[in-house]
Amino acid sequence: MPPRTLQIFKTGLWDDNPVFRQILGICSTLAVTNRLVNTAVMCIGLVYTMILSSVTVSVLRNVTPRRIRMMVEVLIIAAYVIVLKLFLEAFLPDISRELGAYVGLIITNCIVMGRCEAFAGQNRPWPSLWDAFGCSVGYSFVLLFIAFFRELLGFGTFFGVPVLTGDWTFWTIMVMPPGAFFMLAIAVWLARSVAPAKAEEKGKAK
């Protein structure tokens, strides 16, 4: 990997991490962080959608009229998400049912759009691929971190395997919506304490 692509990857993964730094795109995925399996499937789906749509947007960047570029980007993303949804329905029907509407909501996930708009629209396919990969992996590991604690404390399990047994009292609040907000707040707090942001709040308000 040449140094430039490595740098792009690292920027997406940590320096400009979509979750800590830009607080974008947490909508559709926080809801599924109460079980690690669901989160993992959702994250893989997101990595797939982001890479393919970024590359497609980048390939088409010179033939897309500027006025309708947002619409074209949304349609590209939606097409990949439909493929993902059909794949999950066919091969992982149980998880697909649990994720419900949230797979479809990857379309309006702000990071996918955000990266297409901010990076893939101006760059060649290869750097776009690494940018999308870095951002989506950076996003995924935060969500997996959140899901790990929510599942462990809420259900006492790790990927469905009971870990905390005996007289452990399950923290039911962790698997309910407030748990997700508190865990994300803690994750943001930790990340910003470890590495204070250089330029605050540069994420676009969406």
Binding site: C27, M71, K85, A185, V188, S193
Partner: protein
């Protein structure tokens, strides 16, 4: 035949119950996490929050109506339900664009108030989310509209409450890493705890 099958699976809930439930017990932001990005980013000021909230109520109600009609009378008879993601997002984008044009012509004053928020709304997860939930739960057209209205009201209530709280927090001494999004998320968590108190009162799933 297809339609009859769909009608059979419809939950038997009064539209008024749906408005209340979508607003309080199934609040879009606080229990379904939809529309989080504007909820966190726009809630700095009361004025812009209420502007965005009004735009969301309006767009959510009408896109739910349009999408319910399109789903029931076009996609289901043609048996292409899997295309709903693309169709819904196109309907939403087209509707938002249309409203923007109409408002610009008819009322420049309203355009000044709502105009800047309209383009943001196309990518608001809450709008697409409401349309997807209504198809998953097999709502009738009337139920879908009231669901859209209730969700919009609930979303607006949440963002206005959040903006009010954040204005009070301006002078508070908050640890540096928690400033901005961190403290907002904690406040959202506490608000969500309060809303959980209502759960179990009504069930619309």
């Amino acid at each position: 035949m297809m339609l009859a099958a769909i009608e059979a699976g419809t939950p038997d809930v009064s539209p008024f119950v749906i408005i209340f439930a979508a607003c309080i017990t199934e609040n879009m932001v606080l229990t379904n996490f939809l529309g989080m990005c504007p909820f966190l980013n726009v809630s700095r000021e009361l004025k812009s929050s209420s502007g965005l909230g009004l735009a969301v109520i309006f767009v959510l109600t009408f896109t739910c109506l349009l999408n319910a009609l399109v789903y029931k009378y076009v996609l289901v008879p043609l048996e292409v339900e899997y295309l709903r993601f693309i169709v819904f997002i196109v309907v939403i984008a087209a509707f938002v664009q249309f409203v923007e044009m109409v408002i610009e012509r008819v009322s420049p004053l309203l355009y000044m108030a709502l105009g800047i928020f309209l383009p943001l709304i196309t990518v608001n997860c809450a709008i697409l989310g409401a349309s997807l939930f209504m198809t998953i739960r097999n709502y009738t057209v009337t139920q879908s509209v009231t669901y859209g209205l209730g969700s919009g009201l609930g979303w607006t209530m949440a963002i206005i409450a959040m903006a009010g709280i954040r204005q009070k927090l301006i002078d508070s001494r908050i640890p540096k890493p928690l400033q901005g999004p961190g403290i907002t998320l904690i406040v959202a968590g506490i608000m969500s705890l309060a809303f959980i108190g209502f759960s179990g009162m009504l069930n619309i799933r």
